[in-house]
Symmetry: C2
Subunit: 143 residues, 2 copies
């Protein structure tokens, strides 16, 4: 059951269970791929205040339920984290793919970010790799 999973996720992260959080988590679970703030606002319908969406995403981020994916168009996407990165310590060392055709953003969980060597003096704390191009589904629709 989806609902059970949702409540479990919330409990596991020490969050009280509310309608808004349930709904937003549901959106993430239903949908393969990442969501932007406005995606969520639209899909959640008129039921929730914009402010609630902002605050919910912020809390989910802090708790490590979701991670954010930078973009070049000022519309940060959010995606669910895998089980093993809850508890504040993230381990989203995977590559993100943005499709230029359908606009979807997905986590390529199986592709990990390769190590890189920085110039002397620089210390790396986090690495993000963003690939854009044509995704699997869109490719199938072409010649």
């Amino acid at each position: 059951m989806l609902e059970a999973k949702i409540d479990e996720l919330l409990k596991k992260n020490h969050l009280s269970i509310t309608g808004g959080r349930r709904r937003i988590l549901e959106l993430f679970l239903q949908q393969e791929g990442a969501l932007s703030h406005s995606d969520i606002e639209k899909k959640a319908g008129e039921k929730f205040d914009r402010v609630t969406v902002y605050r919910t995403l912020q809390v989910f981020l802090e708790k490590g339920l979701i991670h954010s994916i930078p973009t070049s168009d000022n519309s940060i996407r959010y995606a669910l984290c895998k089980d093993d990165c809850s508890g504040g310590q993230h381990r989203d060392d995977h590559v993100h793919f943005i499709c230029n055709t359908c606009g979807s953003t997905v986590c390529l969980e199986d592709v990990s970010v390769p190590p890189i060597k920085l110039p002397r003096g620089y210390v790396s704390e986090q690495v993000e790799m963003l690939v854009s191009g044509v995704c699997k589904s869109c490719n199938l629709l072409l010649p």
Copy 2:
């Protein structure tokens, strides 16, 4: 002379030479590192309308004078392209570094983005690599 270089850059990219474009290019040339829209708006002073800054950045992007750097905080940064990527065809295959201490964003021209293998079906058109951590200058100020 800086001014000569600026005008040359504009001419090379088939852009008419105006005060606004000169000023913005000057900012990029003076400053090592990337600038956000609001950086530019502040530094350019009261002299230019916000809209002019938007449109100028857009034109510079189209012409390949600058490239954009995605971020996780909804404030896209822009940086000058190297000479060899004008003419529409970009070649910014370098890594970008964002300092969590001083907030500056720089192009690590010497660090190129490693090749990666995508799952079957995905076609890569562009790859962006973003490293965040502590930059060279900030490191020197620490124990």
